[in-house]
Amino acid sequence: MADAPCVIGRGITIKGNLSGAEQLVIEGAVEGHISLKNHLTIKETGRITADITTHSLMVHGQVSGNIEANDLVSLSAEASVVADIKAPRVVLEDGARFKGRIEMDVQLPPGV
């Protein structure tokens, strides 16, 4: 199917820029920049040292870099992430290891 996501296997290491418009699953290593207009999944074996710009992101593996997403960024219980995250929705599952800054829109009640 055309819908099947592109997979970067666990034996692959990419250094440089990675961009695209389709779904991507990373099981290997990427260093550099990732710019995606779709959903990005970083598997348990994935190791990313890169700034990531994407529509949405699911992390099970390791990421270090800055993350910016148009929708959801989700760090699963296996994730280990050192990054600043900017996205309208950020989810930190129980067990996820994270260090950095999270920027969502926070609507505070008046007077607070």
Binding site: V25, S76, E78, V82, V91, L92, L108
Partner: protein
């Protein structure tokens, strides 16, 4: 009827700061604290701070656990865990080894879990040091305190639903790529119910602090 009610402690003995109560200053304690009203200043607790949906805490907070369903502005230091639920909104920094942010929550600030590189992966069985969730006081206490029930009333529905789909949903993208864009949705509402029972045994030894409603 409503006038006779003094929502002072929940069924498990936690102190409740009622919706119309506004405290400014320093608040220390050795028991759970549920904030339905407003607290400004400083909060130091040996146990759990629960900020209900109507609650506003504008303070430097130092606790064992924190569960945020309302608004928190300020930094939180928690020796065990911090959870921001679906309704929770927070601006400030969090220092805690265990931090959970549920989908729907909004947060702006820094997160520091300590040395994450050497942090052992958490066993799925790790029990949650969870205090009474915000939803809980509403149900059991409902008959006695009508007014308090009205407000968090919407809550109970969301937590229980989430448990089952959690694991399957997480793996879904591997086999069903079409679903990938929203793989985490169901997994994100962290169920609070089960550990609630843990809070119960301690009730006997607690001192009751009475906060009168206006």
């Amino acid at each position: 009827m409503a006038t006779a009610r003094t929502p002072t402690t929940s069924s498990d003995g936690a102190t409740i700061i009622g919706e119309s109560v506004h405290i400014r200053g320093q608040l220390n304690g050795g028991e759970d604290l549920h904030v339905l009203g407003r607290v400004e200043g400083r909060v130091d607790l040996e146990r759990t701070l629960v900020v209900a949906q109507s609650g506003i805490v504008k303070a430097e907070v130092s606790v064992k656990n924190a569960v945020i369903s309302g608004v928190v502005v300020g930094n939180i230091h928690a020796s065990e865990s911090v959870e921001i639920t679906r309704e929770g909104r927070m601006v400030g920094d969090i220092f805690s080894p265990r931090i959970i942010i549920v989908d729907g929550a909004s947060f702006r600030g820094n997160v520091d879990m300590g040395d994450i590189a050497n942090m052992p992966a958490r066993k799925p069985s790790a029990e949650r040091p969870r205090p009474t969730p915000v939803a809980r006081p509403a149900a059991p206490v409902a008959p006695a305190r009508p007014a308090v029930t009205a407000k968090p009333g919407a809550k109970p529905a969301l937590a229980p639903a989430a448990k089952a789909p959690e694991k399957p949903a997480e793996r879904a993208p591997e086999k069903a790529p079409e679903k990938a864009p929203e793989p985490t949705r169901p997994a994100t509402v962290t169920p609070l119910e089960p550990p609630a029972a843990k809070g119960l045994p301690q009730k006997a030894q607690k001192t009751r602090v009475i906060v009168k409603r206006k």
